[in-house]
Amino acid sequence: MNLALNLVVKIVVSLWILAAICYYLPSKKQYLKTFAVIFSFSAIIFLCLYIVQLWMTLERPPLRTKGETRLLYATLVPLIALIIHLRLKTYWFAIYGQLMASVFLITNLIHPDYFDMTLMPALQSYWFVPHVIIYMIAYALLASTLMYAVRGFYLHKKGENLRFLLIRADVLVYLGFSLATFGITFGALWAKEAWGSYWAWDPKETWALVSWLCYLTYIHFRYRFPNKQYSALWFLIICFILLLIGWLGVDYMPSARQSMHSY
């Protein structure tokens, strides 16, 4: 069977809407919550199948263009959100994740900037898949911290203490930051093999470093000021904005014409 993107998006988003309805139905029936998990999980399976199909038709890993990374991201964010939901019983978390992923999927419907089958020689490396996948998992984890930040502002307004929320966000920052360290280092080792230097201050590299350093500063800030909860929320938002700039925004900067990473 050949899955078409718009069909996949329709099915996936519908499943997520169904899941959200099941979560929030004013009923105490436990099986509704189980249904919600099944719907959410099925949507992720659909996306995985679509990625596998894309890999086979393109005859290369679908990780090259922005559209392709958005697709992977839209699969990983709800997956991580679902795992966190199952571990911590935070129902809202999975919904936020799916909402974020839906935005990315719909962006892909409007701008399907993928499907180009060529892979230029520099990308034909065994580093390609681990570098991109690790980065996407890291981005998905760090995106989850944004969901905590948004939730945090809401709870702060209600006058609730954010201690436990921020501890959970910190766990995700630690995991995401560590994986981003792997991503950036794998990128450096790959660059040495492909271009002769492990670091060339390419705008994409520079922005990856900026967001990495910003999360690093966040970790130190939280360690030093565990009680500055409101500032920590803002810190998370800024970190995520810098991360998005590094991922999607570099192409629109004056420095972009010097980037070897434009795709």
Binding site: F115, M120, W201, H220, R224, S255, R257
Partner: protein, 442 residues
Amino acid sequence: MPFGYAPTFILIIGFVLVGFALEIATGSNGFPKPIAPLNLSLIVIYFLILISLNFVKSFRKYINWLSSITMAVSSAIVYIILIAIAGFLPQGGGDNLLQKIGFTHMISSWPYVFSLLFVCTALFYTILKKLMRFKVKYIGFLLRHIGFFIILFFGSLSVGNIEKYNIELFIDSPTHQGFYFDKLRANEIPEFPDQKLIKRNVSLPFSLEMKRFEIDNYPSEILFYDSLGFPVKTKLKKEAGFVGIDKTFNFKDWEITVKKYLESATPRKDDFIPYEIDCDHPAFLSAAYLKAKNVRTKEEKEGWVTCGNVRSNTPDITRMLMRLQYYFPATYLDIGEYSVTIGQPGKKRFASFITMQNEEGKKIEKIVEVNKPFKYKSWYLYQTNCHFRLLAPKSNEPLRVSTLQAVRDPWLKVVYIGFFMLLAGSIHLIWSVRKFPKGQKK
């Protein structure tokens, strides 16, 4: 601790401002590249000063401040701002105010060096403090911090020692000459007005001879254009963008079938015949014979289409000469208000088959291709580029040029140790997450 956040920030920003002033005062040349033995002496002096200060009792409170999180956060934020500027503005040129204060060569500018020095010093004293009260549980912390320190400090100081030379190879023509582009020195006469860079040759400790060059390409992709000549995006590429014999593409009301496909072709009267040449050769042309049928009106059209052969990866002047000699335009098949053609194929792989002869006269045969460098002693040889060149008017055939890059970085192993320490520390960080308080289940 002598200073809180505000004074720490003010102090670092003060140094950065001094850096900007130094940039203007030194004619915007940036921090001089630390070349050996200068960088070695700088490292020794830096470590000696920092370690001896550690034993000066009256300086202890300043060391506590330098190794504090206050310093770590403040210096990191200033550092982040400076590199964000480097990531935002194009680097390496310009002749305006931004260039005068170092914004266009941020990574080698004085303010950057000052801010880096603060980050490194903070890291150094943090590491020293932990080492002096070493406990096994500090291992992860130390791996991360030492790893990052090594990468930042030694990576930055090694810049002046990295040797990077381009080598142009022609078939069966051995050479031991590399070249690089350098800034024009004050006593040198420019060859043309506004010349900033000059090509300098170097003799390499080995000679290279290219025996053969191979280049593979992807097939062409089917392309559609509207009546104004703008490309029409289709969803066709998803299933199969590549042109192949007997492949059918559906576009609007049209069904387009590829009857013949010549990946490398040459025109012969109204026809095309196969012509085996490399895909980056100026005469390279892909051609396809397409048959289009309108499923609604049953209208039929057929004919040859080609991608044309104006390539963009050769230098301008050469391209101009080549165009005159080889120029063949792209051709289209009109289908109603649209037209269809095939695109220029992309490069898939290119490789130089080289023979290296070292100083002892020993010959080594190797294939160098992108992502597969050839390592010889401390040198790495990379395949960086390839093109055709018309060297002299009397040469009828364009000359195949393969560009390799020879790179030697004596500090590479040191920096790699830093990378692996940082990775080991990150694994520890992932592991440490289990110690976090579980929190309320809600």
